[in-house]
Symmetry: C2
Subunit: 201 residues, 2 copies
DNA sequence: TAATAAAGTGAATTGCGATTCATTTTATAA
DNA sequence: TTATAAAATGAATCGCAATTCACTTTATTA
């Protein structure tokens, strides 16, 4: 016998896998998921097309991994920021601020996630919807808590949560798509005011 | 010479074209635009696949015609309802009510337009974005008018308009996707209250 | 009713991009 | 240094769906 994968090689492979993901994020953001062939992706990642399949079973596996990573990062960031507050309104604000900050930091990633929203395949679409619904659910929990404290009017918190998340979604989408509003952080302040009033504080 | 298209035939062709569009709306709503082949569409429309190309130059031409029709219907409906009012807030409410009513009436259509949002091709995507932006623009005009009357705080009306439209968008999307909220008309009332407060009336 | 043109048909073609695979290169260990 | 297994390569294959086209059917008019 002669050859057992050594640590040095393992690290090299790990690195290369990360490079492929990085390249994928870039080309997917430039073109779209659908619009980029494995060939083009491979070119960007500086590997042969066949090599791609040594790292991912297929194109879907790749996009799923990317979306999962994004989702995890988003949730982690939200949880981190929320932990700093106890008041319901503060937590709500912290959540959305975490989103905004992450999107600013990872604009490319956000484009894939939010702008391209490709109906690519059911599994992928379902994942995006799941993320959105998770955010709505988290928001609804905050609203229910505030409502139980008598700090919000007795309206349907599900609809309010959707309105809340939807308003952010729309502004972020437009910012990603056409750069309007120019300053997302500034828009965030307006948006928060809008929604806090909307909730009926 | 022998044969000139007669009126009877012209009408038959017109009818068939409409049937194809109707069938397309149905299958696109069931599966997606991308997910339905011309063959499947033809089957639904009870024509041969080749016949499709006698009516449309290609698949894109079809979806563009459908989206255009939807857009026209939506704008017409909005304008109709708005014309009944002069007060800014009333016009705003009338616009959104017109949207909601049309979406309820044309749920299938709405699914294609809003849920599938396929990144299919740039031209198509651009059209969807255009529709959304048009709505935001119309809303912004209303807000600017209200602002000039001193009936709204001095915040960025573009961001407010996006928040307004986005909140509706989100609720409608969720209603289409998973049937929550169950009663869209009821949600509409909550949403209007939310947004009127949000605007800072 | 016969000649002709429009309308319709669906199997065959085409094109495109994901995936495979025979071959080459690189890394490991005896 | 050599034998062997892993990793990489990219041209060839495969599959799928849009589009075409040779042929059939239907409608019109002389």
């Amino acid at each position: 016998m002669a050859y057992r994968q050594t640590n040095r090689v393992k690290e090299k492979l790990d690195l290369r896998k990360k490079e492929i993901i990085k390249a994928a994020r870039e080309v997917f953001a430039e073109n779209s998921y659908q619009g980029t062939s494995i060939k083009a992706l491979a070119k960007k990642a500086k590997i042969a097309t066949g090599t791609f399949y040594l790292y991912f079973s297929n194109k879907d596996a790749l996009i799923n991994m990317i979306v999962d990573e994004m989702f995890q990062e988003l949730l982690k960031s939200i949880k981190n920021e929320r932990a700093k507050f106890t008041d319901g309104f503060d937590k709500l604000k912290a959540s959305m601020e975490a989103c905004i900050k992450l999107f600013i930091k990872e604009k490319n990633m956000a484009k894939i996630l939010l702008v391209q929203v490709p109906s690519v395949n059911n599994a992928f679409n379902a994942k995006l919807v799941e993320i959105e619904n998770e955010l709505i659910k988290l928001t609804k929990e905050d609203l229910d808590e505030l409502k139980s404290q008598g700090r919000l009017p007795g309206e349907d918190t599900l609809v309010s949560a959707m309105a809340f998340v939807g308003s952010f979604h729309q502004v972020i989408i437009n910012w990603l798509r056409e750069g309007k509003p120019e300053n997302l952080e500034e828009a965030f302040e307006t948006l928060m005011k809008y929604n806090i009033r909307g909730l009926g504080k």
